[in-house]
C-alpha cells in the first residue's frame, strides 16, 4: 500500500466529499480532536470540499499549544542553568514563554538541543555523566510510551543525571470537558488516530453513550479524514451516537497493551492545567511515586517565575472550538507566526498557525479564485 499517494487520491476524495454533501441535510459541527488532523485538513484544503453547512471545529489536541505557560517558563529557567543539557522536540523551541523562548535561551548560552526521541536524551545522559540532562516530556498519549520507556531505562540503569519535565495530557477527559461546557456546540468527534493506536478506543463507548455523541476514530491522510467525516455525518443524520473505527489499518479496540502497561507503571493520573482552557480534573499524567526521583520539576528548584499571558490572545477559545482562529481580533495583526502571542500560532499543529500559514487570511472567495 502506498500511504502517501493512495490516501491522497483526488478522485476518491471527491467521491467521498460528494457522498458527504448528499448525506448532510442539516448544519453539523464536528470536532477533529488532534492538531495533526487540523494541520492536514488545512494543508490539503479538505474543508474546501465540504458543504458550507458542515463546520469542522478544531480541537485541543496540539501538545505544544496546551502546555501551560507556567511550565514553559519553568522549562526556560531550567534550560538556562549552567549544568543542564536541555533536550526537546523541535517545535517546542519557538513557543514563547512569558518573556522568551528556548531559542533565545540557547543564544544566551543555554545548552538546548533538539532531539528526535527521548531515548536520544537518555544516551546524552549516559555520555555526559557530569551534566544534568533534562527532557521536556510533553504531549498526549501518543508520545507517552517513548517517554515512559526513557524514564524506565534511566531508573533501571541508575542513571542519576537524567530527568524529565513532564506535562502529559489525556484525550478522553478533554472530550468530557468539552461536552460538559454549557457553551459547547460540538455534535460529533473525530478521535485522534495516533492516540488510539496506543490507547485503543475502549475508553470511548461510555463517553458516546453518556453525551449521546458520535465518536469516529480517524487517521490523518486526506482520505482518512474524509472517511471519518463521512461516518460522523451518517451517524448524525440517522440520530446514532456510536464509536466507530475509521482507522482500522492502525488502530485496534484494545490498543497497544504492553505500552499501556508501562504507562500505568511509570505515570499516574493527575489534574492538569491546559493552556488557555484551565484545569481539567484527572486529565494528565505525572510520574508515579516509584519514578518521581526523575521529575525535573522536583529536582531543580527554580524560583522567580512570573507568568504573564497576553491579554489579547484567545487561544483558549480556539482550543475549545468556541471560535475560529480568524475570529480572533489579534489574528494576523498583533499575532503572526513571527510574533506569536500564544502557542496556537507557533506549533505547526496549532490551529492559528495552520490558518495563517496556509493562507486563511484570505477570504474563502479570494482563495477559491486565487
Amino acid at each position: 500500500m502506498k500511504y502517501l499517494t493512495e490516501f491522497r487520491d483526488g478522485a476518491i476524495a471527491r467521491k467521498l466529499a460528494d457522498e458527504i454533501r448528499r448525506t448532510a441535510t442539516r448544519p453539523w459541527k464536528i470536532m477533529e480532536v488532534c492538531g495533526g488532523q487540523t494541520h492536514s485538513i488545512i494543508r490539503h484544503g479538505i474543508d474546501q470540499l465540504l458543504p458550507s453547512s458542515l463546520q469542522l471545529v478544531h480541537g485541543p489536541g496540539c501538545p505544544v499549544c496546551v502546555t501551560p505557560l507556567e511550565l514553559i517558563d519553568r522549562a526556560l529557567a531550567i534550560a538556562a542553568l549552567p549544568s543542564v543539557v536541555f533536550c526537546s522536540f523541535g517545535d517546542m523551541l519557538r513557543v514563547p514563554g512569558s518573556e522568551k523562548d528556548l531559542f533565545r535561551v540557547k543564544s544566551e548560552g543555554g545548552d538546548v538541543r533538539i532531539v528526535y526521541s527521548p531515548l536520544d536524551a537518555v544516551n546524552l545522559a549516559r555520555r555526559n555523566p557530569s551534566k544534568e540532562v533534562v527532557f521536556f516530556g510533553v504531549g498526549f498519549e501518543t508520545t507517552a510510551p517513548a517517554n515512559a520507556m526513557a524514564i524506565h531505562l534511566a531508573k533501571n540503569e541508575g542513571l542519576r543525571n537524567f530527568s524529565m519535565l513532564v506535562s502529559h495530557v489525556l484525550v478522553p477527559p478533554a472530550i468530557e470537558a468539552i461536552m460538559q461546557s454549557p457553551l459547547n456546540q460540538v455534535q460529533a468527534f473525530l478521535a485522534a488516530g495516533h492516540v488510539c493506536s496506543v490507547m485503543g478506543y475502549w475508553q470511548y463507548p461510555p463517553l458516546a453513550e453518556r453525551f449521546h455523541v458520535p465518536i469516529v476514530v480517524t487517521g490523518f491522510e486526506p482520505l482518512d479524514l474524509l472517511e471519518g467525516i463521512r461516518r460522523a455525518v451518517h451517524q448524525l443524520e440517522s440520530g446514532r451516537a456510536e464509536v466507530e473505527n475509521a482507522y482500522a489499518r492502525v488502530v485496534t479496540f484494545e490498543g497497544n497493551r504492553p505500552a499501556q502497561a508501562l504507562l500505568s507503571q511509570v505515570f499516574e493520573v493527575t489534574d492538569r492545567a491546559w493552556r488557555g482552557i484551565g484545569v481539567i480534573p484527572q486529565s494528565g499524567w505525572r510520574l508515579s511515586p516509584a519514578y518521581r526521583d526523575f521529575d525535573a520539576e522536583l529536582r531543580f528548584e527554580v524560583t522567580g517565575i512570573h507568568t504573564h499571558e497576553s491579554p489579547l490572545c484567545r487561544s483558549g477559545d480556539v482550543l475549545r472550538g468556541a471560535i475560529k482562529p480568524t475570529d480572533c481580533p489579534a489574528f494576523g495583526n498583533q499575532c503572526t507566526p513571527r510574533h506569536p502571542l500564544g502557542a496556537t500560532m507557533v506549533s505547526s499543529e496549532g490551529a492559528c498557525a495552520a490558518y495563517f500559514n496556509y493562507g486563511r487570511f484570505l477570504s474563502a472567495d479570494e482563495l477559491t479564485h486565487a
Partner: protein, 353 residues
C-alpha cells in the same frame, strides 16, 4: 598541464607531516601557512593566477557585464551522501552566477579552520573543490586561510566568491517575471536537504537519498540557447527551498504565482522522509536545481533543454505567473483545493508527533 593530484590516496607530504592536524600557526602567515599553500592548495587548484601568490589575482576578463556573488558554507556534517562542503562551496557560487545569466569564470576561496582539524580531511575537501572547479570550468584564482582556536569553529568553514560574465542578450532577475509566464523546475526537489538530515547526529536514518549538489552552468547555457530573452527569471532554490524562491520572485516582480502541487517532482523517499519528520518538501534545500520563469511559448523548449541535461531528467512545468494575488504563492492541492505557500520564518522544525 599534468593531471591534478589524486587526494583519495593522499598521504601528507613533507613537511606537512610534522602536523597531522591544523595548528594555529597554519593561519599565521608564516612558514606553516606558506607550506599549507605550497603543498596543499597550489597542487590542487593549480593555475597561473594563484601561482603568482600576489596579494590579489590579476585576471583577464572579456568585455560586457560582470556577475559577482559570494556565499559562505557552514554545513554539518562536512561529508554527506552525494558530496561534501568542498563540492558545495564551488557549486553554490557557480550556480549563483549561472542562474544570473553569467558564464562563471573565477572563484576565490576563504577557509576558516578550527585548530585540530585533520589535514587529511582538509585535503579531501580541497580535492573535492578542485574537481568541482574543473567540471564547472572555473579557476580558483585567490584564497585565504585563517585558523581559530579549538572550540571556536566547526572544523572547517569555507567562503567562496565568484565572478562571471553575463551571456550576451540575457537579462534575468527576480523582478522580471510577468503574468502569463510558465514556471519550471529542473528536477527532483528536496534531495540535498534530506540527504543532510539523514546523517545529522541523532537523526540518522537509512536511506538512499543523495545530495543533488552539482554545477548548473551547462544547463543554464542550454536554456539560454533554447529560449534566450524569453527567460525572465531564474534562481537556484537552495536554503528555504522552492517555496522561498517563488515567494521572492512573487514579491520582487509584484505578481502572483500559482503552482500545481501534483506537478512538483519529488522522489517518494524524500516525500516519505519529510512526512516522517513533519517537514514540507517545498521548504527543503536543493543544491543542483534551478527554477526558471519563462514566456509560456518557450516553456516546452526550456523543458526539453533541461531534460536533455543529465541532471535535468526530472524537470517539470509546475505552475504559472498570475496577475491575481500579487506577492502570494498559491498551490492547488491534490484534492483540488487551494493553499497559500508562505515564506518561512526560520528553519523548519520537526514536529512532536
Amino acid at each position: 598541464m599534468p593531471d591534478a593530484p589524486d587526494f583519495s590516496v593522499w598521504s601528507c607530504p613533507l613537511p606537512l607531516r610534522d602536523y597531522p592536524n591544523i595548528v594555529i600557526g597554519h593561519g599565521g602567515g608564516g612558514k606553516l601557512s606558506a607550506e599549507l599553500v605550497e603543498h596543499l592548495f597550489l597542487p590542487a587548484f593549480r593555475n597561473t593566477a594563484l601561482a603568482d601568490l600576489g596579494d590579489a589575482a590579476l585576471l583577464d576578463v572579456p568585455s560586457g557585464r560582470l556577475a559577482f556573488s559570494t556565499d559562505s558554507f557552514v554545513v554539518r556534517p562536512l561529508f554527506f551522501p552525494g558530496g561534501s562542503i568542498g563540492d558545495l562551496s564551488v557549486n553554490g557560487t557557480v550556480n549563483d552566477l549561472a542562474v544570473s545569466g553569467a558564464r562563471p569564470l573565477y572563484l576565490s576561496a576563504g577557509f576558516i579552520l578550527e585548530e585540530g582539524f585533520p589535514l587529511a580531511e582538509l585535503a579531501r575537501i580541497v580535492d573535492h573543490m578542485a574537481a568541482a572547479a574543473r567540471s564547472a570550468g572555473v579557476t580558483i584564482a585567490t584564497g585565504d586561510t585563517k585558523v581559530v582556536e579549538k572550540g571556536h569553529g566547526d572544523g572547517c568553514y569555507i567562503n567562496t566568491a565568484g565572478i562571471g560574465v553575463v551571456i550576451d542578450g540575457i537579462d534575468v532577475g527576480p523582478s522580471l517575471a510577468r503574468p502569463g509566464d510558465a514556471i519550471l523546475v529542473s528536477g527532483f526537489l528536496g534531495d540535498h536537504g534530506m540527504a543532510i538530515m539523514s546523517v545529522r547526529e541523532g537523526l540518522e536514518f537509512e536511506t538512499a537519498i543523495e545530495s543533488d549538489c552539482a554545477p548548473l552552468h551547462e544547463m543554464t547555457a542550454a536554456i539560454f540557447k533554447a529560449a534566450g530573452p524569453a527567460v525572465h527569471a531564474m534562481r537556484d532554490p537552495t536554503r528555504g527551498g522552492l517555496a522561498s524562491t517563488l515567494n521572492e520572485i512573487a514579491h520582487a516582480s509584484k505578481v502572483g504565482i500559482a503552482i500545481d502541487e501534483t506537478a512538483l517532482p519529488i522522489r517518494p523517499e524524500v516525500q516519505s522522509a519529510c512526512e516522517l519528520l513533519g517537514l514540507d518538501p517545498v521548504y527543503v534545500a536543493n543544491e543542483g536545481k534551478l527554477v526558471a520563469v519563462v514566456e509560456a511559448a518557450a516553456a516546452s523548449a526550456v523543458l526539453e533543454a533541461m531534460r536533455r541535461h543529465p541532471k535535468g531528467r526530472g524537470a517539470a512545468i509546475v505552475g504559472r505567473v498570475t496577475k491575481e494575488h500579487p506577492g502570494l504563492v498559491v498551490a492547488r492541492t491534490a484534492l483540488g483545493a487551494k493553499r497559500v505557500i508562505p515564506m518561512q520564518i526560520g528553519e523548519q522544525l520537526p514536529r512532536i508527533c
